[in-house]
Amino acid sequence: MSQPKEIFVRLDRCVGCHTCKIACSVEHSKSKNLFEAISEQPAPKNRVYVEWVPPDRKVPVLCRHCEDAPCMHACISGAISRTEEGVIITNSDKCIGCWTCVMVCPYGVIGRHLETRKAYRCDRCPDLQVPACVDSCPTQALVYRTVEGFSGDVRQDAAREMISGKGN
């Protein structure tokens, strides 16, 4: 079985430009074109967030699509499920807007769609090979990798640092 990919955040790279948010909104619009999307009603919603940790850290936060997803277990209407690819999705037709998922999500990445009165979240851009936020990130703070690939890179960096730190 091939390793599924996740959206990882390289925490040292985000410059807080919020480009990922725009790309996310555009991808979740009807037209999928910025210049048309900004006048669509209801306004397309972004599902990625950029938080500020004073004094100088910027952190993109988005649905982790947890393996043991608290939101999915908590959903009383059975609206939240997992696709074959491992993506947690909310079925709008079933969502009753009780916001239980919001209460249990440890990342705070579930939004409330005022016009449709439904919950919404990252859907990993089912029409794209690479999610829009990742594709748009100018500093590659967001990457779409397997756990193995991402960890491998981190191990490499750590290994290089260990060696150089000892002056070897």
């Binding site: 430009c17 480009t19 725009i22 790309a23 909104s25 555009v26 910025l34 900004i38 594709d135």
Partner: protein, 638 residues
């Protein structure tokens, strides 16, 4: 070629496509590669919702309406967008008028005897300009008149008792009233640029409409800068007359010392043309067949119009000229010079020579040009090219076998002269009669650049093709002219294929009356980007003849592939002059519905002009035709 489809998305010019493949093979990074690496681009910048005008910022407003809805200072999306577009207009105005000021200084130095390399080449134009400015000409020496004109030009930059003369004296009386009533008459060219910088500062103008009016006034100052640039260049270097030449990379000659002049100002390039003639011997001594000058961008247009120097390529494909491996030097002045040229030049063995104090590029060879030592500096530059030829002579070159005949050089004076062969007493009458009769449905001016976001030349050629078939008289400047000339639109032989019957008959009648043995070219080349002033002059002449203002004429403009902030300021003055003005790439204004609405609709109630923003060339052509028809109906013409 497997790259064929890929390359046609980048440029529709076969010579450029050939060089893109070569760059790929040689692993040379081009503008298209850099664009690819830059996408997707920042949506805040694209919509005009990014503000860096103070140190509390940067601020950005979410165009999807979520928080934040204002900048830290409280500036709304409307204010942010209006400030941004104002600064673009100011930058464009500063550039055009900087070019004009440079010429004014050259003229002043000439008149004061501080340089021997410049002279009054067109006395008639000098007198005409002086008369327009109320400077006495009767019984005075040329030099004294030139001194007064140069001083009047320099005086137009600052605030003084009179408004900017190069604006107030070049439009119709009706337009003077419209601009005066709206408070849009510039007080000084520099004053307007400076005032835009002031009012867009942290905590000054926060009324989007007021900001936009300020931008329009600066746009009128840009018209002054452009008009002055044209006037002074014509006086010093001659007013263009029709000239037969050719365009595209096939004009480069493998065995010659090839020098490309690139940039905007004829103040150096015109000298290079005359000095090159004297240095043929040196070139031959180095084993070359001679010196071959070719033009790129508007410097290219300047020397093409006045000396028939062929055009090599334009705008977005400037790097591709160097990719041929056959350019010995690319001599640049300022504006639209991509810094990347130096990297491509290093790969290909070309020397990039910068010449202006305000435009140096790391890695280029700098020759400090001055008007006092103009010929000497021109010799030095050509010497660098000859030396480079000796070094490159044995390396292989790839010169695309692509070039097309061009008839260029249609200044207003040249157009009137050609028309006077039909009616010596009343030269504009044949033009007006044909407009009235519908043989000429209207006029469209193509201006501006090639934008990497558009397959090079596509918008220009698609729109022009459609308009010509519908009998619209097409004139072109800048790299818009470059695009159309490289695709054969300035070749009289293509009139049959390109033009509708009415237009064909008019172009043929004028051509035959002038003993050209055929028609005028389908598209008339009016010059460089400052020479958009020539199009304004033509409009004003026609409007005055008809006794109407410029906003009533069936005349439209299109910057179909705009890049530079100069295109934004030109657009601003076209709208201030009352023209429907198409832009074929997105302006960074959509973040403000108010600003978008003012620029595309509301401004019509003020100046009669407005922006048409449409990225699709087919529907753009339809909109331009509709605008022309609406104007015709307004004049009671069918």
């Amino acid at each position: 070629m497997s790259d064929g489809k890929e390359n046609s998305k980048k440029s529709t010019d076969p010579a450029v496509q050939e060089m893109i493949s070569k760059a790929k093979d040689m692993d040379v990074t081009t503008v298209w590669d850099r664009y690819d690496a830059m996408t997707p681009q920042c949506g805040f910048g694209e919509t005009g919702l990014c503000c860096r005008h103070c140190l509390q910022g940067p601020c950005r407003i979410n165009p999807f309406g979520d928080e934040p809805k204002t900048g830290i200072c409280g500036a709304s999306a409307d204010v942010m967008v209006a400030r941004g577009i104002d600064r673009a207009i100011a930058a464009g105005t500063a550039a055009h008028s900087g070019h004009a000021r440079h010429l004014a200084h050259a003229m002043l130095k000439m008149a004061e005897g501080k340089t021997r390399d410049y002279m009054v080449k067109d006395v008639e134009k000098l007198k005409a300009v002086a008369a327009r400015l109320n400077i006495p000409v009767e019984g005075r020496k040329e030099n004294d008149i030139a001194l007064d004109v140069a001083k009047a030009a320099l005086a137009d930059f600052h605030e003084k008792d009179t408004p900017v003369l190069w604006a107030a004296t070049v439009v119709t009386p009706g337009r003077v009233k419209v601009l005066t009533d709206l408070g849009l008459v510039p007080k000084g060219i520099d004053h307007e640029v400076s005032e835009i910088m002031h009012r867009t500062l942290y905590g000054v103008d926060a009324d989007a409409v007021n900001l936009l009016l300020g931008g329009l006034r600066c746009g009128v100052a840009d018209l002054a800068g452009c008009y002055m640039g044209t006037d002074l260049a014509d006086i010093l270097f001659g007013t263009p007359k029709p000239v037969v030449t050719e365009a595209n990379m096939g004009v480069i000659k493998a065995g010659a010392v090839n020098i490309a002049v690139h940039g905007h100002n004829p103040v150096l390039s015109d000298l290079i043309v005359s000095v090159a003639r004297d240095m043929e011997k040196e070139a031959k001594a180095a084993g070359a067949s001679g010196i071959n000058l070719v033009g790129i961008c508007c410097t290219g247009n300047e020397v093409m119009m006045r000396h028939g120097i062929p055009a090599c390529t334009h705008s977005v494909s400037q790097e591709m000229a160097i990719m041929t491996g056959a350019l010995d030097a690319m001599v640049v002045d300022y504006q639209c010079i991509m810094p990347s040229l130096v990297n491509v030049a290093e790969c290909m063995g070309t020397t990039v020579v910068t010449t202006m104090d305000i435009c140096k590029i790391s890695g280029a060879t700098h020759v400090d040009f001055s008007e006092e030592a103009a010929s000497e500096k021109a010799r030095e530059v050509i010497g660098i090219a000859i030396k480079n030829f000796s070094n490159r002579a044995k390396r292989p070159v790839d010169i695309p076998d692509v070039k097309t005949p061009v008839v260029a050089g249609f200044s207003v004076e040249a157009i009137v002269a050609a028309l006077s062969r039909l009616d010596a007493k009343d030269p504009l009458k044949p033009l007006i009669d044909n407009i009235k009769a519908g043989n000429i449905r209207g006029v469209c001016l193509f201006a501006g650049c090639n934008n990497v976001k558009v397959p090079q030349d596509r918008n220009f050629t698609v729109i022009a093709r459609k308009l010509l078939k519908k009998n619209v008289l097409v004139v072109a400047t800048g790299c818009g002219a470059g695009a159309l000339m490289r695709h054969g639109f300035m070749n009289p032989a293509n009139v049959d294929e390109l033009c509708g019957d009415g237009l064909k008959a008019v172009l043929t009648a004028i051509g035959e009356a002038n003993n050209l043995g055929g028609p005028l070219p389908p598209v008339l080349h009016m010059g460089s980007c400052v020479d958009n002033s020539r199009a304004v002059a033509l409009c004003v002449a026609v409007a005055n003849y008809l006794g109407v203002d410029t906003d009533k004429l069936p005349v439209v403009a299109s910057a179909a592939e705009a890049v530079s902030e100069k295109a934004v300021s030109i657009g601003a003055y076209a709208v201030a002059a009352g023209l429907p003005t198409h832009v074929g790439v997105m302006l960074p204004v959509l973040g403000s519905p108010l600003v978008t609405q003012v620029l595309t609709e509301k401004v019509k109630d003020l100046t009669g002009g407005y922006f048409i923003v449409d990225l699709d060339p087919d529907s753009s052509a339809d909109k331009l035709l509709d605008a022309i028809d609406a104007r015709r109906a307004g004049l009671g013409l069918s």
